[in-house]
């Protein structure tokens, strides 16, 4: 195996395009484990951490752009980002241990393609946009449109995600992410939910985006669950309708960590609890 430090994204794309079995290395908390376990045996590892901008969190048009090599710990330490998108940051911070947080990246969590990836439902709810570099140049794509299936994204050949953009927020908005795991820390979501809300002056929900993780081959947006909250001050009836919409959107696997029935039920519970947190963060009074 060769190890190459890419100087810019053009070089990284060119290296991905050589026809070699190339993999990208940012935090390495997935790819190095896959190599160790023998699931991946790249002939070329392209380190993207030295590319200018890839390690930056930068303010842009009222939102934040998060580079592909920014670690979870760095996101958690960024006061401005945490204040604007607390749900996204708390989702990223749930990934792994302190040691993993020191290296793991949000973009890597997305590219790894796990249906249970913690950052992904939060990014979907936030309307996050991925910036993609490839042989034919730069393009932007909704994170929601990138999801393909377990271990897969819709990234094309020799394409990479250089950053993810979290947009500006109106007043009275808030987001939250919750997952269910059988223990307190260091586990993979059995079911999870990201919720992003915008409230009106009276504390009623103006806009609501709900996304679920670990209950389908990819994280999924649930438009009906968001619609169920719109116009409400998050009263019980709206929350019940939201939970029902979430349950209807579930198509989970059945395994030792959670049955189909359990994952389906819990997805709705996580969504309604996350909605309450997002509502409070948006300034609403429950």
């Amino acid at each position: 195996m060769r190890y190459v430090v890419a100087k810019d994204s053009r070089e990284a794309v060119a290296l991905l395009n050589t026809g070699e079995n190339a993999r990208l290395l940012a935090g390495g908390t997935d790819v190095l484990v896959q190599m160790k376990l023998g699931n991946k045996a790249p002939s070329l590892l392209v380190d993207i951490k030295a590319i200018i901008g890839f390690s930056d969190i930068s303010a842009e048009n009222g939102g934040f752009r998060i580079g592909a090599a920014v670690s979870g710990a760095e996101m958690g330490e960024h006061a401005g980002l945490k204040a604007m998108w607390p749900g996204v940051v708390e989702a990223v911070e749930l990934i792994g241990s302190t040691q993993v947080q020191g290296r793991a990246t949000m973009v890597g969590n997305l590219c790894n393609g796990s249906p249970a990836a913690d950052a992904v439902p939060a990014m979907l709810a936030a309307g996050a946009v991925a910036r993609i570099e490839g042989p034919s140049g730069t393009r932007d794509m909704q994170v929601a449109d990138l999801l393909e299936g377990p271990g897969k994204t819709k990234l094309g050949k020799a394409e990479l995600i250089s950053s993810v953009y979290l947009p500006a927020r109106p007043e009275r908005s808030g987001d939250a992410y919750l997952r269910f795991i059988p223990r307190t820390e260091m586990d993979i979501a059995v079911a999870s939910a990201g919720v992003n809300l915008v409230l009106d002056e009276n504390g009623c929900v103006l806009e609501a985006t709900v996304a679920l993780g670990a209950v389908a081959p990819t994280a999924v947006m649930v438009p009906n669950a968001g619609a169920a909250l719109v116009g409400s001050p998050l009263e019980e009836q709206a929350l019940e309708a939201c939970a029902a919409a979430c349950e209807a959107a579930c198509n989970p696997i059945d395994d030792k960590r959670g049955t189909v029935e359990f994952r389906t039920k819990i997805a709705g519970v996580m969504a309604t609890r996350a909605a309450k947190i997002a509502y409070t963060r948006a300034g609403g009074q429950l």
Binding site: Y3, L32, V33, L45, S97
Partner: protein, 160 residues
């Protein structure tokens, strides 16, 4: 495979080594630099026995490549305290008998020291969350947590 030449800093000393492109920092530390304090428990970033700091950031050295650390500052357990003057975390782990087999201990020491640098007065819950990635199969954790909390108190100048 052609080896990669790396110059970096470990425990304040300039070091250089040759490593394979897929060789982990843990293997470099243990097999090339003879720093065997960091242990391989799992090799997949789950157990924390290989914890070191990389540019001040706590990491699992089994999930870092040796090739990645050029120009970095690495601290291992060998850089924490001396035989004559143990770091408070080390002394309190001893005082609390917070180890049995000792495999997890170097990682616990490095991780706990990193915590107390950024948070001199952690709550018990904060210590438990911070050390959640440092698995110990002997102690049941309670003595470790108490040792870290009393080391923190001593470092703040309080009566431990």
């Amino acid at each position: 495979m052609s080896k990669i030449h790396i110059t970096t800093q470990v425990n304040g000393d300039a070091v250089e080594f040759l490593c394979e492109p897929d060789e982990t920092l843990l293997d470099v530390l243990r097999d090339r630099l003879n720093l065997t304090g960091a242990k391989e428990g799992c090799g997949t970033g789950d157990c924390g026995a290989c914890s070191v700091t990389l540019n001040g950031r706590l990491v699992a050295s089994c999930l870092v490549l040796g090739a990645e650390v050029a120009g970095s500052e690495i601290e291992t357990v060998e850089g924490v305290g001396t035989a004559d003057a143990l770091h408070p975390v080390q002394q309190h782990l001893l005082d609390h008998a917070a180890l049995q087999c000792g495999i997890c201990t170097p990682g616990i020491i490095v991780a706990a020291k990193a915590l107390l640098l950024q948070n001199p007065n952690p709550s018990e819950e904060e210590v438990r969350y911070w050390l959640a990635g440092n698995l110990c199969r002997c102690t049941g954790y309670d003595k470790i947590i108490r040792a870290v909390l009393s080391a923190a108190a001593e470092m703040r100048g309080e009566n431990a």
